[in-house]
Amino acid sequence: MASKALIIDDEEDYRIIIADILKSGGFEVREARDGAEGIEALKSGPVDVVLVDWMMPKMDGEQFCRAMRAESGSKDIPVVMLTVKQTTDEELEALHFGVDDFLVKPFKSAELLARVRAVLRRAENRRA
């Protein structure tokens, strides 16, 4: 069965790009335009992995992660944070609010798929 990915990004271009890559990698994809929509999307159906942009209006990536980790239904779903920030400090900070991996924009298709599959595999191992 195909893994279900949720893409949360305010920029349409990136939603299209990520969706395209994930679909080509055999994922089922849903999209949300900001953190608040993302939380709604999590409630409306099963999600195996979340790809969320850091800088977004309304609810940004960090707020989304905290909100998502607070919900019992979604607290174990792996999260890949998309960012244009690249400092180690910020990455370390993000680990505290429950991010499993990082991807710096722009990224290669193969790298995106590899990282998403890696966090999925780790999550499965945890469950097992």
């Binding site: 271009d13 800088m55 924009k105």
Partner: protein, 456 residues
């Protein structure tokens, strides 16, 4: 030399000078111990004798007079002897007290007191005033005065020295703290503050320092924001382009028909990203010109109607796709003085903004009206919309570069703006000598108007 040392040494110098002056004054006064002081001292004795004699006369007490005079002799050492002569009718009684000491210069004085009730009754007092003792007593009282003066002078000197030391200590500690603060600022720790509650010049200096520190920190934040905004605005479309390209390549390689259609779609997206980059770079160049004061507009006589028609036309298709109607309500107006390319840029910016914030079913329009201020005639051009409008705080930030809050673009169609457009618009209108104004009601719409001078 340190301020503290300098202050204290200057105070010491000043004190030494004033003590010297005081000493010279004392010396001069002593030298000129005048006859008038001696006279005054003698008059004092005379008055005391007269008063005593009068009292005794009223009490008709001869013995009392002598004991009074004896008392006076103790009080005034210069009073060397006294002889009283009582007259009662034809009868006189003489009594004496003391004698001039040998070798002294004694001048005899006389005081006569008579009873106003009976002219027959009077008393004469002859008394000797020892001139040397008189002078000595004058000198002694002066010396006492000088001693007190000297004491006051010394106490004052000590006090002022203490005060100076205290003042210089606060001064030098404040200045030292300010110096350390300036050092911290120069080391890049912007925004440091110093607490100092006083209304004097030092307090004012500290306030200025704090203000400077805060402003530097603000500037630094503004710079960082600018850099991160620019970085984001450049990187975001570039990143999208970079990511689209391999996707297109794969789709073209596959040769699949749907994939090819998708590839075409992606190429359009690349195109719009390139446009976005281009617009942003042009805006940045304009901002750079504005910041360097090189935004120059060449004002020539121009007609407004063709320009507004052209711009309205340009946005027609875009508006239609958004479900918004554009109305060009410009009425014939006299020619204005303006830079036609810049005025076109202003209209394009304003209408693009209006379209961005106006939901489907709304309206965007351009209209004009004539104004007159003193003898100058103006044409006011208004770009209005039935969009979401904005509140006071948004209105205030409207014309500042990069002021577009992320929440401002919430749920707005199309690419995000750069936050530079209205800043450029305002600078252009400023260059034309015109005025730009915003009227807006949240949820009902916005009207931005600018004025241009009528060509005379």
């Amino acid at each position: 030399m340190k301020i503290r040392t300098r202050l204290i040494s200057q105070t010491l110098l000043l004190q030494a000078l004033s003590l010297l002056l005081l000493a010279y004054g004392v010396y001069a006064v002593q030298q000129s111990l005048g006859e008038r002081d001696v006279e005054r001292a003698e008059t004092q004795i005379r008055l005391a004798v007269a008063r005593t004699a009068n009292d005794a006369l009223i009490q008709k007490d001869e013995v009392q007079l002598l004991s009074y005079l004896n008392f006076l002799k103790v009080q005034y050492p210069a009073l060397s002897y006294a002889r009283t002569v009582w007259h009662r009718g034809s009868r006189s009684v003489t009594q004496s007290l003391g004698a001039p000491s040998p070798g002294s210069v004694v001048l005899e004085r006389r005081v006569t007191v008579s009873d106003p009730a009976s002219s027959e009754h009077s008393v004469e007092v002859f008394f000797g005033v020892d001139q040397n003792l008189l002078r000595a007593s004058v000198r002694e009282s002066q010396d006492r005065m000088f001693k007190i003066l000297g004491l006051i002078g010394c106490v004052m000197a000590v006090f002022s020295l203490l005060m100076t030391a205290l003042l210089s200590r606060t001064l030098s500690s404040t200045l030292g703290a300010l110096g350390r603060m300036a050092e911290q600022i120069s080391e890049g720790r912007l925004g440091v503050r110093m607490e100092w509650a006083s209304d004097d010049e030092v307090g004012a200096l500290v306030r200025v320092f704090n203000m400077m520190s805060t402003r530097l920190a603000d500037l630094d934040t503004a710079k960082k924001n600018f850099v991160s905004s620019v970085t984001h605005e450049l990187r975001s479309p570039l990143g999208a382009i970079e990511s689209f390209l391999p996707l297109i390549r794969d789709k073209v390689k596959s040769g699949d028909r749907t994939a090819l259609i998708q590839a075409m779609e992606y190429m359009e997206r690349i195109e719009s990203n390139v446009h976005r980059l281009n617009r942003f770079i042009n805006d940045l160049l304009d901002v750079a010109k504005i910041e360097q004061g090189k935004m120059e507009c060449v004002l020539r006589r121009m007609e407004l109607a063709p320009v507004s028609g052209e711009v309205a036309q340009f946005f027609e298709a875009k508006a239609k796709s958004l479900g918004v109607t554009i109305e060009n309500r410009m009425q014939s107006a006299p020619a204005v003085m303006g830079d036609i390319d810049r005025i076109r840029q202003v209209l394009v910016n304003l209408i693009a903004n209006s379209l961005k914030f106006t939901p489907s079913g709304g309206k965007v329009w351009i209209e004009n009206q004539a104004l007159r201020e003193n003898s100058q005639r103006w044409i006011e051009i208004i770009v209005g919309d039935t969009g979401r409008g904005m509140d006071g705080s948004d209105r205030q930030r409207l014309f500042q570069p990069f002021s577009q809050g992320r929440n401002v673009t919430d749920g707005v169609a199309g690419p995000k703006g750069t936050g530079l457009g209205l800043y450029i618009v305002k600078s252009i209108i400023d260059q034309h000598g015109g005025r730009i104004e915003v009227r807006s009601v949240p949820g009902q719409g916005t009207q931005i108007s600018f004025s241009l001078k009528v060509a005379g």
